[in-house]
Homo-oligomer: 356 residues x 2
Amino acid sequence: MPRKRQSKSRINVQDVAEKAGVSVATVSRAFNLPDMVSEDVRARVIATAKRLGYSPNAAARALRSRKTHIVGAVIPSLDYAIYAKMVNAFQSSISQHGYMTIVLTTGFDNRTIFDKVKLLVERGAEALVFVGAIEDPALRRFLKESPLPAVTTYSHLPNEIVPSIGFDNAESVASMVGHLADLGHKEFALVSSIADGNDRQRARIEGYRTGLRRLKLSGVDRVFSHPYSIEDGAAAMHEIYNACPQVTAIVCTSDVHAFGVLSECRRMGLRVPQDVSVTGFDDAEYATRLEPPLTTVFVPADEMGVAAATALHKALAKDQKPTGVRLDTKLIVRLSSGSPAKAQDLTSARRAGRSR
Amino acid sequence: MPRKRQSKSRINVQDVAEKAGVSVATVSRAFNLPDMVSEDVRARVIATAKRLGYSPNAAARALRSRKTHIVGAVIPSLDYAIYAKMVNAFQSSISQHGYMTIVLTTGFDNRTIFDKVKLLVERGAEALVFVGAIEDPALRRFLKESPLPAVTTYSHLPNEIVPSIGFDNAESVASMVGHLADLGHKEFALVSSIADGNDRQRARIEGYRTGLRRLKLSGVDRVFSHPYSIEDGAAAMHEIYNACPQVTAIVCTSDVHAFGVLSECRRMGLRVPQDVSVTGFDDAEYATRLEPPLTTVFVPADEMGVAAATALHKALAKDQKPTGVRLDTKLIVRLSSGSPAKAQDLTSARRAGRSR
DNA sequence: TTGTACGCGTTATCAG
DNA sequence: CTGATAACGCGTACAA
């Protein structure tokens, strides 16, 4: 059963106008400015449009109205739960307002970030979301001059070029140090991701150091930076064990690393928290099911995504700059942190012969 | 220092043409059909375009050329590593060919899937990626008639409406059952996700049953379906322990569930694999670091994303239907599966007083 | 090789 | 309230 006109691939306003016996302008208005069309005409137009299976051509609409209803997100990778979670909330939230999200990933290569932004802008992205500090000079210049609403997430940066919708990474880690200090720890070590080109990690490292200095604790220079994987967390634990056995508290800037650290502690025969306390960052789903359940920092990833969507939508609707939001993290104390046993540290644990 | 013309928001071909002293057609050709433009003119056009910061308007280009260079992906959620990983590889791969991806999530509500597709089509998506079987009747109808290249992932479905780029879920689980049978297990149980509206889960459940029947093993009806979370895996383990203590092999259709099962085993005092063997599905990053390291099925998520991108790009370039690909999973044997101890099962483990 | 002019499908402006 | 018509910016026959 062949269709009437296979020549034209898609129904357009013209087709609807003819079938409904009105002008194309009226068809357009029936959809976009319904108040300007009489009740009956509008009903007829809508009906025939539906019957014909009409849907407006987004390109033509964008060309004429100068609104693409597309927003762009530039993130390191979707393969990392922390970013995927935020983006998931963002796109789901902003889609409620009729915007679609194009996600571009840098693969952690910050040199490509401005290229991604240019691609997005060429596509007509009306707003942009980033992760962390805007470090690329060209991008900074662009964002400073551009009227494009943009926000960045995961960092709280009062003086950034674009408003930030994030939390205080440094303070979050500092308060974790405070928690461990309260338990009686004095000798610390930090396991972080690679700080280069990653202001969140730098802030967390700084927070660790600030926390230690504030409380006159040891370990300011015991920072072990590794790629972001469970295995690397395990490797870091190994290093710490060999390099500074006096440590009783190991702070990690991610749950991923903490996972590896805990795993390696077990393999090395170290008891957590009796021999060493271990803490994470993110509050991943598995944090409660690690052995022992992980003391960590809850990061409001979903909330950030929703807040970013809200801020950008508001900016778009009111044609003004978006406003930043500072969100709170939350210290979640579980069983991986505890008081250090008297005169107990990695050295004595080793002496006790429990290591492999 | 105010700009020359703030009235026009963006540089267009006209501007470039004037500044370069050529016609708009030449500007367009200089970019799209460089062979049709003389060396020097082209150079001049490119130079002035660059100087002026010209970038073509995607909407106008799409309107005229009928090519949006946008592809759409409809997946359950980006918040699940398995989907995020595939989409990450897909978008990164297809972006190399100049296509951008718009990801829409259903939040596991299959009733909304056709709406998402319509949105994508209205946006001018030139190709579509799905996950699993196409079950929505309206969507099936649409895809059957539409010339839009589309593929689905994560399932191997030779007779699906669109080509599939996935693996044999049933056979993967069946071979896992075979592995456990080889070890001497006779009493099985399965922990799966909710099968409703999820053909991957249904296939895996079916594979479990097929595997058991094939080898005349027990447990065909011991299928425990729970939501997809670590905690739910733990809950399932609890149920199994109470409902069928004779079980010595617990097959999970995801590593997430296996995580919970292993965790709960530990809390219950059951030794893995001495008291019970546990297997997963996905080969998540943490599989090697669970206690004990998890025997599981490797799923080629990245490969699927890349293959889907390749298939769609090829279809787009040659203007023909994409072709499906059957990918292989791989059984990864680690320490969570082993021979059942003689006359050992959950009952005897309980009798041994090791349970809480 | 280059320029002219039209059309892609909409929305916005301006009459009526 | 409705209709005719002019853009939006680009790509491409067609003419030169």
